[in-house]
Amino acid sequence: MGATFVGMPPFPVAAREKLADTQLRRNLAHATATIRAKRASVVGEVPDWEDLRVQAAAVKDDTLTHLDEHLLALEEALTARGATVHWARDAAEACAVVAQVARAHGVDEVVKVKSMVTAEIGLNEALADEGIAAVETDLAELIVQLGEDLPSHILVPAIHRNRAEIRDIFRSRMAAAGRAAPEDLSSEPAELAGAARLHLREKFLNATMAVSGANFAVAETGTLVVVESEGNGRMCLTLPDVLVSVVGIEKVVPSWSDLDLFLRLLPRSSTGERMNPYTSTWSGVTPGDGPQEVHVVLLDNGRTRALADEVGRQALRCIRCSACLNVCPVYERVGGHAYGSVYPGPIGAILNPLLRGPGHDAQVDSLPYASTLCGACADVCPVSIDIPEVLVHLRSRVVDAHRGDRLPTAEAAAMRATGWALGDAGRLSAAERIAGVAGRLWRGRRMPGGRAAIGWIPGPGSRWTGARDLPAPPAESFRAWWRRTGRDEGSAP
């Protein structure tokens, strides 16, 4: 079966490993630069873009404040239109519902629309345990699935792969999963897409049951919405008789006029297109047209935990556009796998700890620190999530969760000492005098400008000096200069 994120090392360890992958660095730099430029160009065409972002944030916040009412309205509308609504508290409950529907129809293969939430709950693995194959029909998800690989981006999960790697995966793996790739398959994009199309067409035509997520769920009419580019989603949503959609409870929007706002923001932020090629909407069952048995699984899986966090709850506004990944200088250099989750990048760095709760798992707790707080993500977010604010907040939750530990970490001790020293000018001044003596004694190579360079510090200091010089402390601190001459120097010509 496929790879798993379970047991991934903390971010700094995983990131260090990924930094050494030269192919990955080039694939990512090229792909993210291309999509950044596309986004910037189409966003620039919308004069009221900043207003739309503020409105979208307000709609999401208002909906989340009254989430219970909107969800009950959604359930009522869905049920009235012939859908069966299931409530799932966690991944296991949601997977059990999907498996149970599949068993009821005697199905051993389902086709899937690309969906983040089914990846989040590990649905494919859960179905495999029941002997049911879940076939990914989005091209990039198919590449990941056939390669027994892990997704590394929300929108383009195979962003870490280049054409040659994809050709090799198709040639060696497609036959075992269904229709084989041509023997002489080249790495031309049109040929690769052609091979995938033929392979998938067979799957669509034979499928009895499809599984999807939803980008939005409109409460007033009980309508689910899937936004996509390839048309594979449309196939899955219209051909099979049975459709099960797993929907995170934060996906609800009250009305179609709210939906309009998000459909203007999502494609431009996501693929850098003015409009996405396929937008499918369906409201329960339509007799004689499309699936005749429709199930909707409304999933919590940590969302109410995130909602309880007053600062962090803004992360539930996320519409999974991935603009924050594409502008993130950290993501660009290490890719998505280093984050150890289906939700990578800046949004993953806040969403994973919020969904799972900080303070229990070293990998999860390392994520809020996987950022320089440069703020590029917040500027592009179409729903104005202040990701740096949430990152800092989650860092404090991680620290607070360990305040009761019997043995404080070296970092905690250092922070306590620094906080103490900085609480009084006299203490800081004393530290500066000691550093000044050390600085005067230091005989190192000169840096441009004349200061002596410290090129090596033992222990934790080597994390700085491994690749960077540090100037030796100045002989005289600013404070000492001010006392000596600064009060008078240059005060009046």
Partner: protein
């Protein structure tokens, strides 16, 4: 108007040329500046690592030390950003309404250097002279936390004799990130190496920025590479005059 300079802990202890230049520059522009000696640090090193309780003493010192001034000038986008955006979070956590009020008052009167020059003193040409090839790195917190926009560039463009060259991909983070630089050292260096490469591509003799912290990181890499590029704070360039020029070489 009573104006105080906040040296910042890094400026005070490691890069005194930046706050010294700030004092000289403001005095040259006719501002009577004071340096309250009770000042220490904005508390950002603790806050950004998640240690909010540990930042309380520093935040307390800040509001006390600068309570009697109409304006506080900070030669750092990051520290000014911390005062304006993070002090309120720290204060709220203490549950002390007095501290919350003092923090609100102090942060409203805190300005990053280029903001103070352009918005308060309403000056763009500060009478500086700096006949060198310079490239400018817009630091993340000055750009995206404070929104200083093109103020620093306008100030630099008005400097006599300067050869200001644009830095490629200027708005990308240098990779310093406070404790990020030692928690994720490899990644920090990978980002900084790209920034240093862009700096070298400009052929500049001096890299200028408004934050000593970012300069410590990029400058540390450039020095290790023997790139022959030195770093200087924006204040040092603006303080340099034809009569009293800043020393660049040596």
């Amino acid at each position: 108007m009573r104006v105080a300079v906040m040296a910042t802990c890094l400026g005070d202890a490691m890069f005194p040329d930046a706050p010294r230049a700030t004092v000289r520059l403001l005095r040259r522009l006719g501002v009577e500046v004071e340096v309250p000696e009770a000042q220490t640090c904005c508390g950002q090193p603790m806050v950004n690592t998640g240690y909010l309780d540990e930042a309380v003493p520093a935040v307390g010192r800040y509001v006390e030390a600068f309570a009697d001034y109409d304006a506080v000038v900070v030669p750092s986008g990051s520290c000014a950003g911390s005062v304006r955006h993070q002090h309120t979070v720290v204060a709220r956590r203490t549950g002390d309404p007095c501290l919350e009020q003092s923090v609100a008052r102090a942060s409203a009167r805190t300005f990053e250097l280029s903001e103070f020059l352009v918005d308060v003193l309403r000056v763009v040409d500060v009478g500086a002279s700096f006949p060198h090839r310079v490239t400018y790195h817009p630091t993340c917190h000055s750009v995206r936390m404070l929104r200083v926009g093109d103020r620093p560039v306008r100030l630099l463009e008005a400097v006599e004799g300067i050869d200001l060259v644009e830095l490629p991909q200027a708005y990308e983070c240098c990779g310093f990130g406070g404790t990020f630089a030692v928690k994720n050292p490899d990644l920090s260096v990978a980002m900084g190496a790209d920034k240093a490469r862009h700096v070298r591509e400009t052929g500049a003799e001096v890299l200028v920025a408004g934050d000593a912290s970012c300069l410590m990181h990029i400058g540390g890499l450039l020095s290790r590479q023997r790139a022959g590029v030195r770093t200087m704070h924006l204040a040092e360039v603006l303080a340099s005059t034809a009569d009293d020029p800043a020393v660049v070489g040596g």
